[in-house]
């Protein structure tokens, strides 16, 4: 198994690069904060909790924000 730190560093860079920051900045709180949590951590469950939304509903916003989930 690859180093988690290495994997997560590369995944975070990819999320930061791919994200539609204009879309993210247009979102109301706490959605905006939750999307930033997702970019930094890759943790969809945690970000959905911050957003106060069901995971699948938050994931639809995640797709619009062009934030990839890296597996």
């Amino acid at each position: 198994m690859e180093s988690y730190e290495e994997f997560e560093r590369e995944a975070r860079e990819l999320r930061r690069r791919s994200a539609d920051w204009e879309f993210i900045e247009r979102q109301p709180e706490p959605i905006r904060a939750a999307l930033k949590v997702l970019v930094e951590t890759g943790d969809l469950w945690l970000a959905a909790k911050v957003a106060g939304l069901p995971v699948d509903e938050f994931d639809e916003i995640r797709l619009k924000a062009k934030i990839p989930i890296v597996v």
């Binding site: 988690y4 469950w45 069901p54 995971v55 699948d56 989930i69 890296v70 597996v71």
Partner: protein
């Protein structure tokens, strides 16, 4: 074949996959903890409903013993500075160990935890790429492309190479 217990993020993505029904070529049934169902919205529940109706998926109630064990796992992962383990994943691990199920999750933390905690060493943790590889074998590359497109996620290129896939 056997049963697997799925966490929220795995289900949310897998249920978008055009060939989602093929999951049952690998597992007879999929256990869905009540806490996982509660975290899904209308769309996710609607997509899961046919699996529940056909009894290929079944609900696992909240059981205090598993919840206490899940908290222990969350605390262990924090104390060992492992990748962050979320409560639903921890609950899935607790269920899987007691019931002999596999765990389906797209998060890294459960894979690291079962390597770090000896009593969990026998728990099989699979992410969507592992499941696709089991289903598709030599035609994995087409499935990977379809899954990335449908689910809006990206597989690590190094993990794909480990499966012999170069995109």
């Amino acid at each position: 074949m056997s049963a697997a217990v799925a966490d929220t993020c795995f289900l949310v993505h897998w249920l978008r996959f055009r060939d989602r029904e093929r999951l049952f070529e690998v597992f007879d049934s999929v256990a869905v903890p009540a806490m996982v169902l509660e975290e899904m919205g209308a769309r996710g529940r609607a997509m899961l409903a046919p699996w529940l109706a056909s009894r290929r998926a079944f609900l696992i109630p909240r059981i205090n013993e598993y919840e206490v064990e899940a908290l222990r796992l969350v605390e262990f992962s924090r104390s060992q500075r492992l990748p962050t383990l979320d409560p639903p994943e921890a609950y899935c691990l607790a269920v899987a160990r007691r019931r002999g199920y596999a765990v389906l999750t797209d998060n890294k933390a459960p894979k690291y935890l079962v390597r770090a905690l000896s009593e969990y060493a026998s728990v099989r943790v699979l992410d969507s790429l592992d499941v696709l590889a089991l289903i598709y074998g030599s035609t994995l590359i087409r499935a990977v492309r379809a899954y990335e497109e449908d689910a809006g996620l990206i597989f690590s290129r190094s993990r794909l190479r480990a499966y012999g896939v170069e995109l």
